[in-house]
Amino acid sequence: MKSRKKLRKECLGFIKFVAPMLILYTLFFLIPLVQTIYYSFTDYNGINPKLGWIGLGNYRAVFQDKYFYNSLLFTVLSALLFMAVINVAGFVLALGLNRKIRSRNILRAIIFCPFIFNNVTVGFIWQFLLGRLMTDLYPLTGWGIFKIGWLSEERLVIYSVVLVKAWQAVGYFMVIYLAGLQMLPQDPLEAAAIDGCGGWNRIFKIVLPLMRPTSFVCLFLAITETLNMFPLLMTLTNGGPGHASENISLYIYNEAFKSHRMGYASALSVILTIVVLMVAMVQMRLTKEGDA
């Protein structure tokens, strides 16, 4: 009798406290997620309310779509490139800032600052710098680096995009590494110092292995950041030149809202979801192994 009363109270509490957020979350995240899956089996175009069921038709089309492979390739390459650049840069900066430097807090604040800038502004700023300003710098300096069309050459645009994203996010990765460095257990470091292990040896043989959990976080965070960078792409290059800097998120947007192929774009979204969840599962596995 008592336990039933308790259960009822528990349920009531759940409804009163958890339900408001959970309902909003369900309405505006979970249901849309399921709807995306449903749309992916239809020829929905956003205008005609009658949905035609076409089964796996969209998926078959996706795997024959050269722009899909193009955007996938760009996404993977930019993610790998970004991962490498941002983690090395972030870690090196964090090592520097972890020393007893007097202006440490100011330095940290300045380097982190671009991360809170909005993507639209960052995109415009760099479009101006790379596309407009550089053409004026070349006759002045004669340096070949300014002559190159950093945003207009298909071969180079990926480096420019990664560079801009890295400029924006390097402070973020730096502070995460810095927090990791400050939480390191002191004993192994002191033991190493006593045994005369210093400099590069200390960093590569002791600090880096101890930082494994933080590096995992940063590596996977880099993937999320590249998947989410499409507002930046939109204002920096708008996927151009041609389709050279179109990542999968931007491709989904263009298909859905420019070409009005919502069913097709939904199929792309489903594929993206599966990939992201797979990556997340790998991450969880690896983190668990790292803990054990």
Partner: protein, 276 residues
């Protein structure tokens, strides 16, 4: 010891050089935001002949910027308040339940943190048209709060763990329970976390482009990133002086916030990354 000090100074210098290099681009932006269009076209490197505020004035006038500014504040604030109030309630209860059900619900909440926005973008746009809530800032804010609440729920759950359960029982015995207990006793205890989350969410919503872009088509309801984009599309001949001025104006509130709450923002974002 002495050698160590020397290295520290060298590292410090290197870091300063890096900092300056990183902020060099911003210098050009500030210079060009104060120039006339002709000056920008002629020579983007030169200083402006006169430091005038004409560009900013024109952005405010043609972009209807005051309205846009207020829209953005309304959108960011309302979404933020909903997330903080409902999110803290949910986080509190889920943390107290601490059983299979609550763990499952937490996992469900975590899905949204992993997936990029395009995954739910299409149904959201369709739903908004069907329910007639596109071009309705209040409804859009509620919708926004709904799919972006994960971080708040999870962070509040962690914080509530540190508040002893005895408190709940004591208050219950004194006849204080339910919402009254939560809002008079627990919520004030969560203030530091609420402050951090408020700042983080405000920045996120202030900078958000995608949701407003798919749901808002009326010019009077534009938020700042959206109006920047329309500014860009409006001029075939890129009016960089205006675009850069608009960009600086978009950054200003966030930079001011950053000056005051720099430590909170950085530590909050680190915590969010490590937990998510």
């Amino acid at each position: 010891m002495n050698r160590r000090k020397k290295t520290n100074i060298a590292v410090g210098l290197l870091l300063w050089v890096f900092c300056v290099a990183m902020f060099f681009p911003m210098l050009f932006i500030i210079i060009n935001a104060f120039k006339t269009f002709g000056e920008v076209v002629m020579d983007p490197l030169a200083l402006p002949a006169v430091w005038n505020l004409d560009n900013f004035k024109e952005v405010i006038r043609t972009g209807n910027y005051i309205r846009v500014f207020l829209n953005t504040i309304y959108f960011a604030m309302l979404s933020g308040v909903i997330v903080l109030v409902f999110g803290s309630m949910a986080g509190f209860k889920l943390s107290r339940m601490n059983n299979k059900v609550s763990q499952a619900i937490m996992l469900v909440f975590m899905i949204a943190m992993m997936l990029p926005f395009p995954v739910i973008m299409i149904p959201l746009a369709v739903m908004a048209t069907k329910l007639h809530i596109s071009n309705h800032l209040t409804m859009i804010s509620i919708l926004n709060a709904g799919f972006s609440c994960s971080l708040a729920v999870i962070m509040y759950m962690q914080t509530v763990k540190g508040i002893p359960r005895e408190l709940d029982e004591c208050a219950d015995m004194d006849g204080c329970s339910g919402y009254r207990f939560f809002f008079t006793i627990i919520f004030p205890l969560l203030k530091p976390m609420s402050g951090t989350l408020a700042v983080l969410y405000f920045i996120r919503y202030w900078n958000d482009l995608m949701l407003p872009m798919i749901l808002i088509s009326k010019k009077e309801l534009y938020t700042i990133p959206l109006s920047q984009l329309s500014f860009y599309n409006q001029f075939t001949q890129n009016r960089w002086n205006l675009l850069l001025a608009a960009g600086l104006m978009a950054l200003l509130p966030v930079i001011v916030l950053y000056l005051f709450a720099q430590k909170t923002i950085i530590s909050g974002m680190v915590a969010g990354a490590v937990k998510g």
